[in-house]
Symmetry: C2
Subunit: 306 residues, 2 copies
């Protein structure tokens, strides 16, 4: 093979077309699933090789209240939902990152991402490590903290590092995924506004959310895909209240630059091209990983140091 041909082949292997799906959800699980499947078909026909779904895409965001009946929404892995996406991944020859309310056993439920490889196999799972709990996001009630650690999932496209929603505020998580070889970060998420916040506060929150995720891309020189929910979901316990999920899903490159950006309130399929070769060039240009002071980071394992 001529040098030129080899170089072209490497380029082809380093270039990946990625997609995310931003959708609204109803209480009808079948309808939500149907919509995800239709949009995945569209993504594949647009040439996407990796498709990322938002957090808990199969159901409405049930964590707005603490209700024991909602545990009935959980399912095992493998289970009905992974079977559907497994078949779809194999049929379309793509990698899919799905988000499952996992029933691991009686009394242990997780917020889990499952990666389906191009042959339909489960390439790996990641269980949400950082669990939030604040008004209208009562996740500590439902989700046992993950015990997978921060390990990327090896797929036929490369190593995929996963951060689920609250995880994405923690630079430690992104760094650990990068140190374990992640070539791309994906963030299935479900975040929105409380109607009581001022417009200024809402804009600061949205900006902070995007900025934090961009910073993971920059600090580690890897691209990032963030798939968020859209639409308003009523709070079952509060008259006329609920969460307005803010959409704004996005894809950024390894310098944190925007590759694709969704709207606030539309259901959207977003695509972008990432290049793993370019990531290595950026790491050569700004060699952060070379200069980390690993001799001086021990106290990161402490809650507080005063």
């Amino acid at each position: 093979m001529h040098d030129n041909a080899i170089s072209k082949r490497i380029d082809r292997m380093s270039n990946i077309k990625v997609a995310l799906i931003q959708q609204s959800c109803q209480s009808n699980v079948a309808q939500n699933l149907h919509k995800s499947i239709a949009m995945i078909h569209q993504a594949a026909s647009d040439g996407a090789q990796l498709v990322v779904l938002q957090e808990l895409h199969r159901t409405y965001y049930f964590c707005q209240s603490e209700n024991q009946k909602c545990f009935d929404l959980a399912e095992p892995i493998p289970g009905p939902t992974t079977h559907v996406f497994s078949s779809l991944a194999a049929e379309l020859n793509i990698v899919i990152v799905a988000s499952i309310f996992e029933r691991r056993t009686a009394g242990i439920y997780h917020n889990t991402a499952v990666v389906l490889d191009t042959d339909g196999s489960i390439a790996g799972i990641y269980r949400k490590m950082h669990i939030p709990d604040d008004p209208d996001y009562y996740e500590k009630y439902y989700f046992t903290p993950g015990d997978t650690g921060f390990k990327p999932v090896q797929t036929s496209l490369g190593k995929i590092g996963i951060l689920i929603c609250w995880d994405q505020w923690f630079p430690e998580a992104a760094r650990l995924l990068a140190l374990a070889g992640a070539q791309i970060l994906v963030c299935p998420t479900a975040i929105g506004w409380d109607g009581d916040d001022s417009v200024d506060e809402q804009q600061r929150q949205l900006f902070a959310w995007q900025t934090m995720q961009r910073s993971h891309a920059i600090a580690n020189a890897i691209p990032l895909i963030s798939a968020n929910r859209t639409g308003f979901e009523k709070n079952p316990n509060k008259e006329d209240r609920g969460i307005l999920f803010w959409g704004h899903s996005f894809i950024v490159g390894e310098q944190g630059e925007t590759l694709a950006q969704a709207s606030q309130d539309e259901e959207e399929l977003l695509t972008g091209n990432v290049n793993f070769k370019r990531c290595e060039q950026v790491r050569q240009q700004w060699p952060f990983l070379r200069d980390r002071r690993i001799d001086a980071y021990k106290e990161l394992e402490k809650r507080y140091c005063e």
Copy 2:
């Protein structure tokens, strides 16, 4: 004291007016120092209680080449420059963060920040922990890596966490300062463009630089002041080449929002108001520090985990 009066008193203690100085530098050390002093006087008369100077403000950026003669620019701490700023801090009743090329002993030189308190005393020092080395920034030649660790400096205004230039790309450093009680982060820096980079690449670099620092504010809910150099400085070894320091010094609040923003090419005094009480409210709203998975961060002490 009435509740209202107590509350007003606490508010007064929590509100601090901060300033940074963005300047260009020449080979004439006295001129550079004279300019810094004049702008500090201006900051104090504008009501600033904390003034941050840029990295190595006393000299031109000598790290563009490796030249043994440049070690003559180093000085002890305390020494001539800290004496000047110590007197100034006491005279104006302000806290000053100065940046010194420190001669610790023969053969050990550091890139060091010195914090002068309102009484003129040296409140503490921080020695740059992460040392870069890439074309035109040959800092590993000049600066021994710091051994202070990431400890904020206690002053009469509060605890100040310092990140010097390259440090600001490492989320570990900002987190450790926050865990050790830092109430504000300050970043004396000297960063600019290589004339060979495209305009697009230059803009990506500037955006990444600001985004990364904003992310430290967000992840830890503390304000941040970043003071950068401006102006073109010729490379002593390369015809018609040099660094165009990109200015754009800025102050952000605890949600990463812009409080003040300097231009690219002007010498500027920038001021902003920060509120420590508001920082605690933001930490209550988004309790990242509560949810850190300290049981799962051990591998942050590794160079690479594959």
